[in-house]
Amino acid sequence: MATSAKKNPIDTIFSLVTAAASLTVIILIIAILFELFRESSPAMDRFGVWKFLSSTDWNPVKESFGALTNIYGTVLTTLLSLVMAIPVAMGIAIFVTEVSPNFLKGPIGIGIELLAAIPSIIYGMWGLFTLSPIMSGYIEPFLKKILEGVPIVGVLFQGTPMGIDILTASIILSIMIIPFTASISRDSFNLTPAVVKESAYAIGATKWEVVKDVVMPYSKLGVFGGIVLSLGRALGETMAVAFVLGNNHRITTSLFDAAATITVTLANEFAEADKDIYLSSLFYLALVLFMMSFITLAIAKFFLLKAERKYSR
């Protein structure tokens, strides 16, 4: 690094100012963790860690709180949305990198980005007013009719389709995360060196075989990182789900039932928790969510960094 003969005072000031600015990131994360811990300590003292995480009680009247119903809802909607989103996102990535003619690549890319830019409250509104009636009027009765009797799978389709339930919420979530997964997958696919693909073509592989056996294995670290990143995003989604989830604190096996996620519980009950232990339990939930998303992102980062290192070899 170049240095001048004597230290310029303005330089020192500027470097300190910028250093302070960048330190806000560390300070904020520590502050958030500190506050969350502090506010949830009454609940932590009362309920402990394991008991809170495994209790299905959410009873403001009897002042007994447990996170399991919320965690269950969060995990179920997130996993379901991933299951629905990943195939579509991969399909889009494959299309954009391998199948589509060049002139289409730009517009479709922009289209996917626009999908990502739509604010989550719009998804929520659309879900409540447009998707939910379609679900309760056509799709859910149809699914119920053909799948209700099937053993094992049928258990997911019991009860009256109301449109305001886990299935609708998961579908909306999946639409929201498609763009993330698709664009990271596309970027990972594009990093496959042309040489490797060309050698495969040279020995007579079809396009699909190149995708299946060359591109995808090569980029699997990046793609996996992208999937975990989308998982993290879906975990923290509030507004898109708040409209159509139904807010019922219980563990249920039917996709046609209402449920609760951590984010929606926070949105609905935070401003109203009137007893101290109630508010503290909500902060405890927020802490649990923060931990879950932190861990998920750390895992995603790990894979993405590994992929980066591999590709820049």
Binding site: D57, W58, N59, P60, V61, K62, S132, P133, S136, G159, T160, M162, G163, I164, G246, N247, N248, H249, A258, N268, E269, A271, E272, A273, D274, L279
Partner: protein, 336 residues
């Protein structure tokens, strides 16, 4: 450098904006039960006194919580607090208006005032024991109605609600089963159903879900043309929710200023009384003397000028004798 100066200038403009003497703002939050009438009163009061009374409907639980945390100037709750609770948090309480909680249904073909239910039927529906509209219990109460074997979707509140408190107090008083399994309160562990946020949310979900049943403050049923239900009251009559039956329920009420007006109006004994009536209360923090005087000034104005508006929205204004008791309470507590 130039850009930096420009930004500073803009920042200065924005900041000057915010210290411009904005119109006087009073912040209140709480029950969605009286939201239609409070916001109507605030709208008119703003024209008369220039004060912006910003009332946010977040549920009675929210009202209690926010005034306890002193993040608003007044809280509103349909669930009255007891003297111990008020003393613990340094709060004062008085009623503002009365109304009725009404079960509403969205059954295809059933219009308002057609379906008859009693407390036993409602209990069982909300407990999940009665699951279909053509259940024998419901049929026996409604011999003239053709009810199909449709599954009932129960709608309740997802937030902390005084309306829920009134409704569950009504159920607990008459159904030992409900009292045992669920109990009464602003936020209970509902055995079945989907939760809507606020009276608004319950009205919304009930409206768009066929074969559903919900409970809302009557103004919401009226404004959204929801089909209300006839209930059997303790005197044995099936009554319709309207101004007269609410008034009848309120007529027997004896509010005691010494108990800070704590009173439930459910299961009132009158012949034509609506069984799920309730008053809604304003909560003030004792030490906020300045803002308390302004809040009281608003409610004083509403007591003098707001009865007509309340009637229009089918709320029962407090009787003159009660208003006098409240004014005496204000004077005794340094609020006026």
């Amino acid at each position: 450098m130039k850009v930096f100066l420009k930004m500073v200038f803009v920042l200065a403009v924005v900041l000057s904006f915010t210290s411009v003497n904005a119109a006087e703002t009073l912040n209140g939050a709480g029950a969605s039960f009286p939201y239609p009438v409070y916001s109507a009163w605030a709208f008119d009061y703003n024209k008369v006194a220039g004060v912006q009374l910003n009332y946010q409907s977040i549920g009675s639980g929210g009202g209690i919580k926010q005034i306890t945390a002193r993040t608003v100037d007044f809280g509103a709750s349909d669930a009255p607090l007891t003297t111990e609770e008020l003393n613990k948090d340094g709060l004062l309480q008085f009623p503002a208006v009365m109304g009725g909680v009404v079960p509403v249904v969205a059954i295809p073909g059933v219009k308002e005032g057609q379906l008859r239910l009693d407390s036993d039927a409602i209990c069982k529906i909300y407990l999940g024991d009665i699951k279909h509209w053509d259940d024998s219990k419901i049929k026996s109460l409604n011999p003239g109605l053709n009810l199909a074997h449709d599954e009932i979707t129960v709608v309740h509140r997802s937030d902390g609600s005084g309306t829920t408190a009134i409704f569950t107090t009504y159920l607990s008083e008459l159904c030992p089963d409900w009292k045992d399994k669920v109990g009464a309160g602003t936020s209970v562990k509902w055995p079945v159903g989907i939760g809507g946020k606020g009276n608004e949310g319950v009205a919304n979900y009930t409206k768009r879900t066929p074969n559903s049943i919900g409970y809302v403050e009557f103004a919401y049923a009226e404004q959204n043309k929801l089909a209300y239900v006839l209930l059997k009251n303790p005197a044995g009559n099936f009554v319709e929710p309207n101004f007269k039956t609410f008034e009848d329920a309120a007529a027997t009420a004896n509010f005691d200023p010494k108990k800070h007006f704590h009173l439930w109006l459910v299961n009132a004994p009158g012949k034509n009384a609506w069984p799920i009536a309730g008053a809604t209360f304003i909560l003030l923090a004792k030490e906020k003397t300045d803002s308390n005087k302004k809040v009281v000034a608003f409610y004083d104005w509403a007591f003098k000028n707001g009865d007509k508006k309340a009637n229009e929205l089918v709320y029962v204004p407090l009787p003159a004798s009660l208003k006098d008791k409240i004014r005496a309470y204000w004077k005794a507590n340094g609020l006026q």
